[in-house]
Amino acid sequence: MTDTLTPVLSADWGNDRAWTLKAYEQTGGYAALKTALTMAPDDVITLVKDSGLRGRGGAGFPTGMKWSFIPQDNPKPKYLVVNADESEPGTCKDIPLMLATPHTLIEGVIIAAHAIRAKTAFIYVRGEVLHVVRRLRAAAREAAEAGYLGENILGSGVDLELIIHAGAGAYICGEETALLDSLEGRRGQPRLRPPFPALEGLYASPTVVNNVESIASVPSIVKNGVEWFGSMGTEKSKGYTLYSLSGHVKRPGQYEAPLGITLRQLLDLGGGMREGSQLKFWTPGGSSTPILTAEHLDIPLDYEAVGAAGSMLGTKALQVFDQTTSVVRCVLRWTEFYKHESCGKCTPCREGTWWLVQTLQRLDAGEGKSGDIELLLDLCENIVGRAFCALGDGAASPITSAIQYFRKEFEAGMHTPSSWAFPPEASTLFAQEVKA
């Protein structure tokens, strides 16, 4: 380990039975809550605002500012909703966090709910991860029994009911308004905005929707202060965050480091590329962020620099691919995912992904026609910014970026199947054993 790592959220993941209340309290858990409950709600908001914490779910919107949008003169109840519907290909930070130390999230939920004066909070968990749902429910039960949840929390007069809600297996429900529809018992489809959730969210009441990691970061800020948080990261992207390294690296996993670390540094921490692997391309933040290549190894992984490089920091899900990977096949798999997960509400995303998949299948099979690359680019242009929500943009960006950097591979799709040029087994872990 080098000094570059700053384990905060993941600091206790290795502890014995870290998910229990007992273990959490032994390492100082719920101390931040006690501090926060002595603070006025607006002071908590100001604290989080001053810390510079930005949403960790992908868009990077300042968390404190989002909280301050909640109109406190609105007579309707306020709601806090935690978006734990983590399902983007490559993204795998919230689920380990909730599995290892669910109380970090619950403590954050209580502080955030206190700040926005919500008496009901929801954690909307991806339905497929049943073990996480169970662990969260057990943690919520423990917290309630210990008086951290329910009425008059720790004698502060603050009430909070926490509901752990399991989704039904739709990627679109990670989109905040679709999530709210789903939580209300409807089919998850994005809503028209305005009205924004801060004014009319869940049950048409003021609602904050935050990512798991954003909320889980709040206790550490309350505990250690704004300066401590700001000592990490860059000027506009402050603090630490979880980077999820996966793919052709020696030690894939969660690396908690200050914002602004580079992929080169992270690869070093992860033991470098696999034996015999050279970096071919990578995603900075899951499959919906445009891919980058080896030339981008040294760009700081913060919101601004990745944006300047033509991609997005997204969820910091760094999927690393080596020279054995067919870009066309990889992009096809992602596009198949988006086609499957498109909610169907708007035309460009629903029909566009249907068409993109069929065109990519042709190129993947080596049966591409001349003009297919231009067709793909044109279809993407007709989807990006035309779809109802960001899912359509996410579906198109891997394609346009892949063509930008690896056009030749797409051209090869006119005559050579990707499985000839890039035998799938060559990318596997056991490939070298097979060869040996």
Binding site: K339, G344, R350, E351, T353, W354, R386, F388
Partner: protein
């Protein structure tokens, strides 16, 4: 005779000025960009957008480039113009001036078409299809998509009447939004996701909506089709005629499409003041009554052998005249509620000037003197006071003896719209109906007959509206109490009858105490005024008999002859007595479209033109003239006016007109009475005597039922709500009836058996539909609204219609 609507006083609206396609335009605040663009002459293509539905922004066809949102900054991406409201200083560039918007629209159109079948040559919508039209104007001729299209097994039965071809659907959600936002009927929804997203139904609960046909009409492609019309015609072969719906008193605007002498379909017209763009399924689908096998085609005269025999028109008219002349001074006229106002006027004048009698009544259902007095004093020639659109501005709308969803569909939709905006709906009725639930209405639970007491307790403000139905005529003191409630609060009051011709019949005096133009019979000046206008010496001054009086007198022999227009015997207050009267009367003239219980008993049957074959007007419940032209031109088809004129001429007392236009012109010339309005004679509230072991009957006809006007449309009829008997759990228990089993309702006249269902009625009351599921309640029991009946456990009846 009826006043036309005067434009409501315009409240000043805040105008917003923006620039669209380099043209500056000012529009009311809140206008959507897509509609503002129409004002500068730019039609932005669209599918999901519909002016009467809430914006959804799903189809993405209407993308425009907004280079300045009004704050100096533009949107980075094209925006859906159907979801964005105008802002001051906004700069919008549509496909006309922006290559970005043009490409976005063209690209989207291409997406919509990749999975759309190329079956336009056989599709119902082909030729009038927004997708077809807009792909011609805003799409590209050739497709780049050569891959596999999405297909579905076809079609799905959304209901018996509405079929769905899913592969044609562009998922605009107009149908599902209509069902949710306008009609309030659930169970049609978008299901599944992504490319598998489709319109679906909940199999356990059928999509039985009274307004389902509107989804077919607003479908921007041929995905939703009518089971009757499917594959029957092409739009470009049809001739369209604007018309007015005849199934209720709303006067809904419709469009009738015919091909080679046959009506193929009917669509909703567009009249923002009346029915907006919606009609009931009855107005849409029930148009084949007049083309049934029993349509009368030639005049018939009963011969010496007592058989009805086809004759020529001159012979039949002479025979009618001869019979009426023989009964001179002793002839009654029953006109029913289905006549156009011009036809009704002819009957009214025929009675007064040719037959010299006031024995004329249009009310072929329960009626009272109190009602006649109410109609004369507060309804006749009052012009639009309460209007469809005005209901949206009321504070509270009270319904008495009136179930809008079943009896006046356009009123129901307007009230539901109003209730969604915060207008409170209160129903004085026996139970919470599905319609009342959909209007989020409040029930004032009332035993039939007790409406006056409920009305007396209402606390209303001057902005409230009371809507009374014709069932109140069965309640002694009902109209008196409604008037008192209106007077106490300053609320407005409107009478909403069931039939299209009812209000017009009031206007032209088809009543024993009222002359045309609201002239009271008992005022000598009014009679003299009318006599002068008609150029006759005098108008008979003797008060006429009402429907029951006319029938009783026919039985007793005091009336020797009857002239009967479109009246169903089963509708009359006492059908058995009515049959006896028709049998007993010496001479019976029937003017009818189809063979009926009257025509088979008549001595002279004169076939008259059905609505599609003649022009005319209805006066709707608002008092609004709703004129329509003939759809089909059949030279052999004569109007009531022409037939009555013929008889009158035979009798040597010409009517003075022979055509609809002439009648309308004379009506206008005669004009309304400008003297004092008659004063309502108040009537004390009187309850019917409750005998031990009986219950009060609540009943009305459901919208889709066994009525003859719906004959020939069995698929439509299959969407009827099942006939059930409703009562409180306590009432059912008191008579040992288990909910879900059958109950028998009886009077001395007969009995009817229906499945029993628990509802929130007061104890001692049962509700049953008047004419549904093969059980003609009124005709069988001889009992109607508020009458006493007995109930008992019943056995499942044999399948009444022998159909499976």
């Amino acid at each position: 005779m009826t006043l036309e609507a005067t434009p409501e006083t315009q409240t000043p609206v805040e105008l917003i000025t923006l620039t669209i396609d380099d043209v500056e335009v000012s529009v009311p605040k809140g206008t959507l960009v897509i509609r503002a663009a129409e004002l500068v002459g730019t039609e932005i293509p669209r599918f999901c957008d519909h002016p009467l539905l809430e914006p959804v922004g799903a189809c993405r066809q209407c993308l425009v480039d907004i280079t300045d949102a009004g704050n100096g900054r533009g949107f980075p991406k094209p925006q859906a113009s159907c979801t964005i409201e105008v802002a001051a200083g906004m700069v919008v560039k549509t496909q006309v001036t922006s290559p970005i918007a043009e490409k976005a629209q063209r690209g989207n159109m291409e997406f919509l078409l990749i999975n759309h079948p190329l079956d336009c040559p056989v599709c119902d919508k082909g030729g009038e299809c927004p997708l077809q039209n807009q792909s011609m104007t805003h799409g590209q001729g050739e497709t780049r998509f050569t891959e596999t299209k999405r297909t579905f097994p076809k079609p799905i039965q959304v209901s018996e009447q509405v079929l769905l071809d899913r592969e044609r659907c562009v998922l605009c959600a107009r149908c599902t939004r209509f069902s949710e936002q306008i009609a309030g009927d659930p169970f049609i929804e978008l299901i599944e996701r992504g490319s598998q997203q489709q319109v679906g139904i909940y199999e356990q609960e059928p999509f039985h909506s009274y307004f389902s046909g509107n989804t077919i009409q607003i479908c921007p492609v041929g995905a939703l089709t009518s089971a009757d019309y499917r594959f029957r015609a092409r739009p470009f072969d049809l001739v369209s005629t604007p018309s007015i719906a005849e199934h209720d008193s709303c006067g809904s605007a419709i469009r009738v499409d015919h091909r080679r002498g046959k009506v193929m379909r009917r669509l909703a017209g567009d009249d923002p003041e009346v029915n907006e763009e919606w009609i009931t399924d009855k107005d849409r689908f029930a148009f084949t009554s007049a083309t049934q096998a029993d349509r009368l085609t030639t005049p018939l005269v009963r011969n010496a052998a007592g058989k009805l025999e086809p004759t020529s028109w001159p012979y039949a008219l002479a025979a009618a005249a001869k019979g009426l002349a023989a009964a001179a001074g002793k002839v009654g006229v029953l006109t029913g509620g289905r006549l156009t106002v011009e036809d009704a006027y002819a009957y009214s004048k025929f009675a007064r000037t040719v037959l010299r009698t006031n024995d004329i009544d249009f009310r072929a259902r329960a009626h009272s003197d109190e009602e006649a007095s109410f109609l004369a004093s507060h309804v006749a020639v009052t012009g639009p006071v309460v209007t469809h659109a005005g209901l949206e501005k009321a504070s509270t709308v009270v319904l008495v003896g009136f179930e809008p969803e079943d009896e006046a569909g356009a009123v129901f939709l307007r009230l539901r719209k109003a209730s969604r905006k915060g207008v409170k709906v209160i129903s004085i009725a026996s139970h919470t109906t599905r319609g009342l639930t959909k209007m989020s209405g409040e029930l004032v639970r009332t035993v039939p007959g007790n409406e006056p007491a409920a009305l007396a307790e209402l606390e209303l403000d001057a902005n409230a509206v009371i809507l009374v139905g014709e069932r109140l005529a069965s309640v002694r003191g009902g109209y008196t109490a409604a008037l008192a409630a209106a007077k106490k609060s300053g609320a407005s009051l409107a009478w909403i009858p069931r039939r299209a011709g009812d209000r017009g019949s009031v206007e032209v005096g088809c009543l024993p105490t009222l002359l045309p133009g609201g002239r009271p019979l008992d005022v000598a000046e009014a009679r003299a005024d009318l006599a002068a206008a008609w150029g006759v010496r005098a108008i008979p001054s003797k008060k006429g008999r009402d429907t029951s009086g006319i029938l009783d007198s026919a039985t007793a022999g005091t009336l020797k002859a009857l002239v009967v227009a479109g009246v169903e015997v089963a509708d009359l207050p006492d059908p058995a007595a009515a049959r006896a009267a028709l049998d007993a009367v010496g001479f019976l003239v029937s003017l009818e479209v189809r063979e009926s219980e009257v025509s088979t008993r008549a001595d002279v049957v004169l076939p008259i033109a059905p609505m599609v074959e003649k022009p005319g007007s209805f006066v709707n419940w608002e008092g609004r003239m709703r004129a329509f032209g003939a759809v089909l031109h059949e030279p052999n088809s004569l109007t009531d006016i022409r037939v009555l004129a013929g008889i009158a001429e035979e009798l040597g007392a010409p009517l003075g007109f022979r055509t609809v236009d002439q009648a309308r012109a004379e009506m206008t010339e005669v004009g309304p009475w400008d003297g004092d309005r008659p004063v309502m004679t108040p009537v004390e509230h009187g309850k019917k005597v409750a005998t031990r072991g009986t219950v009060a009957l609540d009943t009305w006809p459901q919208l889709v039922d066994d009525g003859r006007g719906q004959d020939g449309q069995e698929l439509f009829r299959a969407t009827a709500r099942p006939a059930v008997l409703r009562a409180s759990a306590h009432t059912l228990g008191a008579f040992d009836i288990d909910p879900g089993t059958f109950a028998t309702v009886s009077t001395e006249a007969g009995s009817v058996t229906l499945p029993a269902e628990v509802a929130d009625l007061p104890d001692g009351v049962v509700w049953a539909p008047a004419n549904s599921g093969g059980t003609a309640l009124h005709a069988t029991l001889g009992a109607g609204f508020g009458d006493r009946v007995t109930v008992a456990p019943g056995k499942a009846p044999r399948r009444a219609r022998g159909k499976k």
